[in-house]
Amino acid sequence: MSTPESAYVVPVRRMSANGWATLVVFLPPALAIFTLFVALPMTEAAWYGFYNWNGYGQPEKFIGLKNYQLLTGNATFLRSLVNNGLIIAVSLLVQLPLALGIAMMVAGRIVGAAWFRMIFFLPYILADVAAGLIWRFMFDGGYGLSSLVTGALGIAPYYLLADKTWAFSAVLIVILWKYFGFHMMLYVAGLQSIDKSLLEAAEMDGATAFQRFWHITLPLLGPMIRLSIFFSVVGALQLFDVIVPLTGGGPFETTNTMVSFLYYFGITRMRVGFGSAVGVVLFIICVTFAFGYRRIFMRDD
């Protein structure tokens, strides 16, 4: 393994011997670890993606783009793409307005505001695995919340997690429950930094509450909203931990995300080439989004 810095570290511009020594001691460890465990695996994923390989020996069966062809024709993978899209849609259309609304409620001086903020943030610090299991109980038709509802209505127990049409909505509810507090906290920070004299001036000029919100608060929250959207999308793309305890991808493979697809169909079956191809697709989506979004929407932030 070679660290790339040796090729680039040429002292120029008032680099003292002391500075040089510092550089040689301080930089290589981080670069080495990063190269070994982040950069190389990513490059290797691109390479393995062209092979049919079970992970033992060397990848030898070169199959070109076959893995990618398999993916485009794989109904489960396409469903997982749709599911990732659904998470993004719910994050942006439901979670974001909800988080913003609640942030406006708790940013002010209402009694117990600090307590409410803390409660709303609490699910965010729990591990996804624990959150997934807690909600598996809640949705269990024989026990949790749904048993309470069906019991009250006097109808047969309903197992949401076994309903192939609606099971994914359970995943969406868990995500909403777990992550809205984080976005709310971003908006609270944004709201608290708004200069209140602007709002007072607007009020004196006769602006209604809605006008003040629409023309002053919302534009000034722009950077936070863009940030919140960014985290929603990036988080949605890599979602995995919630799926395993909640549904395990079922019923009938209807609740997979790209990463859980990669896990169940690549890793557990040791289809290294196929799984790597999934990783590459995910990588391309993530990088395209991150670059594109930053270039278009976050240039000034």
């Binding site: 460890p29 903020r117 609490l122 610090i125 109980f137 608290q192 990463v259």
Partner: protein
């Protein structure tokens, strides 16, 4: 705006309290709405903790009420078991090693990028920043092969080192920005007095960077403590499982006894909840400020 602490009562009154006072009725309605939402958020957690005290039959007939009889044994048996303390101990060890290495490696690299000009510095910095663009999951299979080939499968280092590697981009970015904001006169004066970079780093930069170092520490600790995919791929022996894997293993073993699983969940999320209650200011500020500055 990153300086404001979202949990603390705002020093500057926000627009809700600007202008004329809202009517008491509106305030009451607002409070009621907040209480309802808070209830909805807390119900799953409280139900989990309470149901851990029940017998299965009681749990089945009354999932959202207090236990008929408090079955403390569910909790005591877990607390008296080796596996509970073992999974927490493993998680703690992995998280502490991850935090220590992340802080050490990223602060050194960030210092070099902040103060030293050398050929290729911008290139190397953007190279490291690539780590911010994609999640660990994208490279998990080749990473597994790499960890296996290095002989690190089923070892703590097999989880710690990749976690550090994936935290470096965030750490270097946050720390470099903070180090550059320290007054340049400090460095000039120190150099004038014959203080080298090493001593400047250890005696000036690090002591002056407590808050940002704790931000990086909190982010990497939380993500390591809650981590699931990487340990899932690396560990085989249950004796090395962190609590996230231990929880799933326990659920697999006792899947027909929800009351035991719920008690186990409660006890394993307890450390995180206690830490959060004790240090919520720092944790919230760390997790949100890290996001904002990153």
């Amino acid at each position: 705006m990153t300086e404001s602490n979202p949990i603390a009562p705002p020093l500057v009154a926000t627009h809700e309290s600007s202008g004329r006072k809202p009517s008491p009725l509106a305030g009451l309605a607002l409070l009621a709405a907040l209480i309802v939402i808070a209830g909805a958020v807390l119900v799953p957690i409280v139900a989990t903790a309470l149901n851990g005290f029940k017998q299965l039959g009681d749990l089945q007939s009354h999932p959202f009420s207090l236990p008929e009889t408090w079955v403390w044994r569910n909790y005591w048996n877990i607390l008296a078991s080796v596996r509970y303390w073992q999974v927490l101990g493993n998680s703690l060890l992995i998280a502490l090693l991850t935090v220590a290495l992340t802080l050490a490696l990223s602060s050194m690299a960030a210092f070099a990028f902040a103060h030293l000009k050398f050929f290729g510095d911008r290139f190397l910095l953007s190279y490291l920043q690539l780590g911010l663009l994609f999640p660990l999951a994208t490279a998990i299979l080749p990473l597994f092969i790499k960890i296996r080939d290095l002989g690190l499968l089923d070892s703590y280092w097999g989880v710690v080192l990749p976690q550090v590697a994936f935290s470096l981009a965030m750490g270097v970015l946050l720390l470099r920005n903070a180090f550059r904001q320290l007054p340049a006169e400090l460095l000039d004066a120190a150099m004038m007095d014959g203080c080298g970079y090493f001593r400047y780093f250890f005696f000036i930069t690090l002591p002056l960077s407590g808050p940002i170092l704790s931000t990086v520490a909190i982010i990497s600790f939380v993500s390591s403590w809650n981590g699931y995919l990487l340990p899932l791929v690396v560990f085989n022996s249950e004796s090395r499982y962190p609590w996230t894997l231990g929880l799933m293993a326990y659920q697999g073993q006792y899947s027909t006894s929800w009351q035991l699983v719920l008690a186990f969940i409660t006890l394993t999320i307890l450390p995180a909840i206690l830490m959060f209650l004790l240090a919520q200011r720092y944790i919230v500020a760390g997790l949100t400020a890290g996001a904002v500055k990153g």
